[in-house]
Amino acid sequence: MFEQFKTDLRWAGVRQNLVAWVFLLPFVFVYVAFLIYPFGRGVWISLHDWNLLAVTFNPDAKTFIGLDNYLRLFWGTEMTWRAWARPVLQGLCVLAAVFFVWRYRIGELRWSTLWQCLMVLLLLMFLFGWAPGEGGRWFDRRFWPTVGNTVFFVAMVVPAITIISLLLATALNRETRGAAFLRTLFFLSQVLSVTVVTLIWQMMFSARQGLVANVVREFGGVPLSWLAEPGFAMAAIVIATVWWSIGIAMVLFLAGLQDIPQEMQEAAKLDRANSVQAFWYIILPNLKRTITLVVILQIILHFQVFGQAHLMTQGGPNDQTQVLVRYIYQTAFRDSDLGIASAMAVFLFVIMAVFSAVQFMVSREDEQ
């Protein structure tokens, strides 16, 4: 009797496992075949000298070269170490360190987490200290500037989007038709595709036919060729991107605002706090988590920028708007250098993974 029960139980267990796997199998198969396996394959390609066309016509045309592709990207000749070899990247590390210490001081970060973060940043600071010395040069002169451009783009776009969308969300967080209409209006550009957005803004900024130029000319100014003008090309891409993508951030903030208890805002009103004070003392502190979330999401999203730079400026002038994903695309499909392109893709993954880890940590600390 008892044996029978045990067998039944075991059978039930097997059956349950079987049923579960019927449900899981479709997804797990697709997931492993088209995400995990390709990812591993990408790492494998990055260890080869792999010409796209040559390997197509002769699968043996690839050679295993270990980490040479990575060396080609990250290293150069006559490398020497100096404390402030690359002030921008290292400065960012310092800023990040200050940020983490601040979060620890206000009790948002545990000591162990802070410690880990600082160790990683210190390591990065050290690594960034290496640069070609006298008479040396990077093996790939374009890689680090491209990374720099991408970081710069993110550093411009993310704060702009965060601030604008936060202000808009605060102003439009009310149940009137007018507010609903304006919310729709500001969100609308978000659903356009990157090709439409770049089509519009490419024309907007054209020195000859552009709306901006037409208006400038009307007031007696001399219109600029934004997309060919150093400094302005990146600005043009940033403007187009901000215009395109405040919608998602705004909606996230609106959702965050809904979670602030109504009584708090009522209390503020009774205390005769004006809207600026209410914003500063009630809304901002309560939105802290949402703000962090929005910032990290935007960083991950915009680090992968491709279409805007590819379609509006082709990376120019003089590579000022060349970004990482466009460099990957070009290396792979114009120069046929799959190996190096894959190494850059792995680098991109590592950066994304770091930010995802930070996001994960932030939300975990939050829950505790």
């Binding site: 000859r208 060919a228 002038p317 114009r334």
Partner: protein, 444 residues
């Protein structure tokens, strides 16, 4: 917007239902594709799209419409084959051709440049057409020497050449006249760097307009100017696998061009479309651009609404010792896989190429130089508008040495030269960087 009226949103409204049925209807109607007769031959090309090209070749103007009308005419005359044209934008064209070969799915016939032959030839990607041409009425002996060279790789013919295209000086005669730079109905063009600056000053004084316009900020038109000036000084960007860019000759060429910008005689910020538009608007006496726009500018000059009225085409002038201008050849190639696996399609592709070869005179109407001796020597060709004005161009045509890395090398030059005239990088630094980068491409 968030959670305000969730209840209401749960219901699928009539409007949503209408929308869904609309989607279904579109899907059905678009799914009913026209039945195709005959063997399908897919063709990839750039040149832009021409939606209402029709089949009347003689009525078409401009590269896009002329080539499309030729293709359409072939399609209409041949019931055995259906040509599907896949026009791709110029910016991504070669990326996509590479991607299509690498995916094992290249178009059955596609246009390409002479300079890409090494890249595709060395891996055996293109079909060897040598023994099949005569049988289809294509006579390689009728081609000019340069055209035959353009399509030949290791003594085998890998394509059918269509033209020789080169950089020209497109001239606004009214502005030149005003500056006193016209003699016997011909523009006076400079014969030395110093003279060019003098002319530029004369045009500005007389008209207040730019002397020269070109695409300096987008495609490689500016690079091709520099290359011409290099060749004119008997220099080149590389030879025998060694980059030779950081040279006094290159410095001369670049200083000449930056001199135009510094003096206010040209605008470095213009892209392809803007430079063309400024020429048509009468804002520049000279436009440096290719042969591909001669018929278009002639048509524009005849249009009363367009500022440009007296249009002249000139050979790229010789400012140094030897005459030279940048040139290349458009040619049609068939993937080796088509010849190997699909004889029927290969037959169709060859017939199409023969048809295009027969219409060499029509393609030459764009302004390109023909590749067939029989066409070059015909009265019809000589009578093409403006043709006599730049007939020396075929004799001075040049290009950089063959390399499988041509695209990447041009990109390096374009980037570094743009760095000089757009972002103020010093000529010395740009040349030394360009030399190192080109060298590393040659070493790969």
């Amino acid at each position: 917007m968030v959670n305000y009226k969730d209840k209401k949103a749960e219901k699928v409204t009539t409007m949503q239902k209408t929308f869904i049925s609309m989607i279904a209807a579109t899907a059905l109607s678009a799914g009913a594709v026209m039945p195709a007769f005959g063997t399908e031959v897919t063709l990839a090309r750039f040149f832009g799209s021409c939606q209402d090209a029709g089949t009347d070749v003689s009525a078409a103007v401009g590269e896009a419409c002329i080539i499309q009308s030729i293709i359409n005419a072939f399609d209409a005359e041949n019931d055995d084959f259906d040509v599907t044209t896949l026009p791709t934008d110029w910016g991504n064209y070669y990326d996509q051709i590479i991607a299509s070969y690498a995916s094992g799915n290249p178009p059955d016939v596609h246009v390409m440049h002479r300079h890409r032959i090494p890249e595709y030839g060395q891996i055996g990607a293109l079909a060897d057409l040598t023994d099949d041409l005569m049988a289809h009425g294509i006579d390689p002996d009728d081609w000019t020497d340069s055209a035959r060279e353009a399509v030949t790789w290791n003594d085998r013919i890998l394509g059918v050449p269509m033209d020789l295209h080169a950089n020209l000086w497109h001239v606004n005669m009214d502005l030149m006249e005003a500056a006193g730079l016209v003699e016997n109905g011909q523009p006076i063009l400079p014969s030395s760097p110093e003279e060019m600056m003098e002319h530029a000053e004369m045009v500005r004084e007389a008209t207040g307009q730019y002397y020269l316009a070109a695409d300096f900020s987008e495609f490689e038109i500016g690079v091709r100017m520099v290359l011409a000036f290099l060749w004119q000084q008997d220099s080149n960007i590389f030879a025998n696998g060694t980059a030779t860019i950081n040279t006094p000759e290159a410095r001369n060429a670049l200083e000449l061009i930056t001199g135009l910008f510094d003096g206010g005689y040209a605008n470095s910020r213009t892209n392809y479309a803007d430079s063309q538009q400024s020429f048509l608007n009468g804002e520049a006496a000279v436009l440096v651009n290719g042969t591909w726009v001669v018929d278009f500018y002639a048509e524009q000059a005849a249009d009363e609404d367009v500022e440009l009225t007296h249009y002249y085409v000139a050979d790229f002038p010789t400012l140094y010792d030897e005459p030279a201008t940048w040139a290349d050849t458009h040619l049609w190639a068939i993937p080796a896989s088509v010849k190997r696996d699909n004889p029927e399609v290969y037959e169709g592709a060859l017939q199409l190429l023969a048809f295009i070869n027969d219409h060499n005179i029509d393609w030459a109407r764009t302004g390109h130089a023909a590749v067939r001796e029989s066409v070059l020597n015909s009265d019809e060709y000589a009578a093409l508008p403006h043709r006599s004005e730049y007939d020396n161009t075929v004799n001075i045509a040049r290009d950089t040495p063959a390399s499988a890395r041509y695209g990447a090398i041009q990109d390096i030059l374009n980037r570094e030269f743009q760095a000089i005239w757009l972002t103020g990088k010093s000529i010395d630094a740009a040349l030394s960087d360009a030399e190192e980068d080109v060298q590393s491409q040659l070493d790969r």
